[in-house]
Symmetry: C2
Subunit: 208 residues, 2 copies
């Protein structure tokens, strides 16, 4: 069985839409999908582990990597830098692994330029009220941060039309299945399957 | 919540690939998908019910409908006619229902011409040997019919590249989930979701 190149999946969502929970469920259900660990200059939140949740680096180290062209995409959000390692992604794709990027709409745009075949998914909360409630329920962020996050929703949502898929995270179990379905379906595209099952198809073409 | 128009799914497979079992599992899991019941001039097999498995009609009745332009697609296979009612499909789609057509590659081509947005899925058996074994295990067909079916596989497989998705029915449970995933994922396309959730998106654009 020949191995086609991996897919790149981009998952984007306003803070509080439930992206982290959904992505964790997906990674547990589909071990073939590898999560890209971003570099960031922001301080770790409680429980966050270096190399697992992010590669935590200082500003100088980040800018040095940026200058060396090591980032596929990067963004400055609320005064902190975030970036995705280009090298790691190209290695994984060549191995046939699927890659998942948790990035914002600006990062999504940069990744699409480098990989037009990337599959992008935007996750929406069920309502604006629910989004605010979820952000306030999260004890880690200050009121100021929450207000800033809510204000940024308006500009984010303007870009939803650039995504291939849109999920509404109302019922978490349904949303999990939706996300898993998109990943499975994209692997079943003829372009991938004709490579993966080339020998089977060739054998059927020469059927007696 | 606004209702976008339904999707048309085409499922095509060589006889013995397991199409009927997979489609039955899909319809049970996703009641929003309506199976198009074809018209045919072939004799009912044991257990087949008129109006459920097919609309069984005689040759004259079929040709009269064909002349009136009632068929979206039709084909002559092994000397029998098969056709899909155009009227029923357009009604269902306008209601927002998803439609599933079980047709051959020639029918798929005709449907694509009328509905370029149709989503087509080709189901492959795990091997040619397995396909033959399944056909011989089915007591309903004569040796001559089986040989004819096997001979036709070669020409069918030449058209697999025109389908959007390709499934290999090796493990039936995996294949069921694959088929369901494609149907779910296609409903989550931004083009559909932006209509379905227009009010939610509008409310988020005007966030404070």
């Amino acid at each position: 069985m020949a191995k086609p190149g991996g897919n790149i999946y981009i998952v984007t969502a306003p803070s509080g839409a439930g992206k982290t929970t959904l992505v964790a469920a997906l990674l547990a259900a589909e071990p073939g999908v590898k999560l890209s660990v971003s570099y960031t200059t922001r301080a770790p939140r409680e429980g966050e582990v270096d190399g697992v949740h992010y590669h935590f680096v200082d500003r100088d180290a980040f800018l040095a990597r940026l200058e060396r062209g090591e980032f596929l995409e990067h963004a400055e959000v609320y005064g902190c830098y975030y970036g995705t390692s280009s090298l790691w992604i190209r290695e994984r794709l060549a191995e046939g692994d699927d890659i998942l990027l948790e990035i914002d709409w600006q990062g999504a745009q940069q990744v699409r330029e480098a990989f037009p075949e990337a599959i992008s998914i935007f996750i929406l909360p069920p309502s604006l009220d629910e989004l605010e409630a979820r952000l306030r329920g999260r004890a880690t962020d200050s009121d100021e941060v929450i207000e800033r996050r809510l204000a940024v929703v308006r500009s984010e949502i303007d870009h939803v039309g650039n995504f291939e898929y849109v999920l509404v995270n109302d019922d978490i179990e349904v949303a999990k299945q939706d996300l898993i379905s998109i990943i499975r379906a994209e692997r079943l595209r003829a372009t991938k399957q004709l490579t993966r099952h080339a020998a089977l198809i060739a054998s059927m073409k020469t059927a007696p």
